[in-house]
Point group: C2
Chain length 188, copies 2
DNA sequence: TTTTTTAATGAACAACTGTATGATAAAATT
DNA sequence: AATTTTATCATACAGTTGTTCATTAAAAAA
């Protein structure tokens, strides 16, 4: 009967809370283990029994956001899109709104110093969503795996451009832009 | 009359050489400043007067490869492609061969721990090449900036997938794959 | 060649890293 | 409630980091 030790839960919560506080002040790559432990009032050795480095702690936060991405996809629609229903599938439509909602988080994930791993993880989640959606509603004669990979790339490319332009567009505008681009590409 | 001090050149060369040696043994993110300086027989303080961190030293190597990417684009064709001349522009055709040539380098650049910054730098170079090519040979009624950004994303997405599959395809196969994908996308 | 400039050096510094220890106390098990 | 398990703790260690400073020596300028 393996029960989760309450001490572990408390320690992890303290560490996460400390990291969240620090992230509002400084960049992820400039936050030290010592700093987190001081703020969390947790022994430094204890940090190392759970996480090897600050990034591993951040990844727990990452997983939460990814779960939310998936959840928001399963939720009934509630955004202000209208025209794109036929042109974009639900997973695509929602990704921009999701990112808009967690802008602070994605500023970290797409910052210059962030490890490429976050990009890969995000890619995997997005591809999976697109792939599931295609198999449910799409043409089943095509290789959904390859196509979802290509589409995930296209969308993430657009998201990166969005980030580089400091998220100045709204999520709705990004959806429109994607539709325009697809129109241009598919009708040369 | 600002002349480049010979001592600086020698120091930088030693440091670079040491980094290159270490990169053959271990990952970039596990190489310490101390280690490089020990091997290069350069004082650690001297390292810090030129570079703030190991990544900055690596970026000099990065610039070299980017220069080569540009050079190889200006060179006359010498690869074994035939069919794609009408379907892909020269910059696109060459990128896969270039990456194949410097596979070792790109394994580092696309590794999970590599900072996203390398991706951004590579993107910028690629986009510039595509944009130049479009303005020379392409339709000048369209927004080449936006289009080159989209194309650079599509190609880099494919390259990332290539890396994740351990570069098992040849550069020529990657060109063919891109042509196939574009065909599929533009003829739905 | 001599003088001037300045890059490289060695040494020292506080702070952080990653790891290991036995002691303590909180939780789970009986 | 008593016992067992184990997470956390304080402490210590050698090694790395990033910085500073006076000294040395190599290069550039005169």
């Amino acid at each position: 009967m393996k029960q989760l030790d309450l001490r572990i839960i408390k320690t992890k919560e303290s560490l996460k809370e400390a990291l969240m506080l620090l992230l509002k002040e400084k960049a992820l790559n400039s936050i030290s283990v010592t700093e987190i432990c001081r703020l969390a009032k947790v022994n430094r050795g204890t940090f190392y029994t759970h996480y090897g480095q600050v990034e591993n702690l951040f990844e727990e936060y990452f997983k939460e956001i990814m779960q939310n991405l998936k959840d928001s996809y399963l939720e009934p629609y509630k955004y202000a899109w209208t025209i794109h229903t036929q042109e974009l599938n639900p997973a695509t439509i929602r990704i921009f709104h999701h990112i808009e909602k967690y802008e602070e988080f994605y500023r970290i994930v797409f910052s210059k110093t962030a490890p490429l791993n976050y990009y890969y993880l995000l890619f995997d989640h997005l591809q999976q969503l697109l792939d599931e959606d295609m198999r449910l509603h799409g043409n089943d004669k095509i290789d959904t795996g390859m196509l979802s990979a290509y589409q995930a790339n296209a969308i993430l490319g657009l998201v990166i451009e969005w980030h580089r332009q400091d998220f100045k567009q709204t999520a709705e505008e990004m959806n429109k832009l994607l539709v325009e681009l697809l129109k241009y590409i598919t009708r040369p």
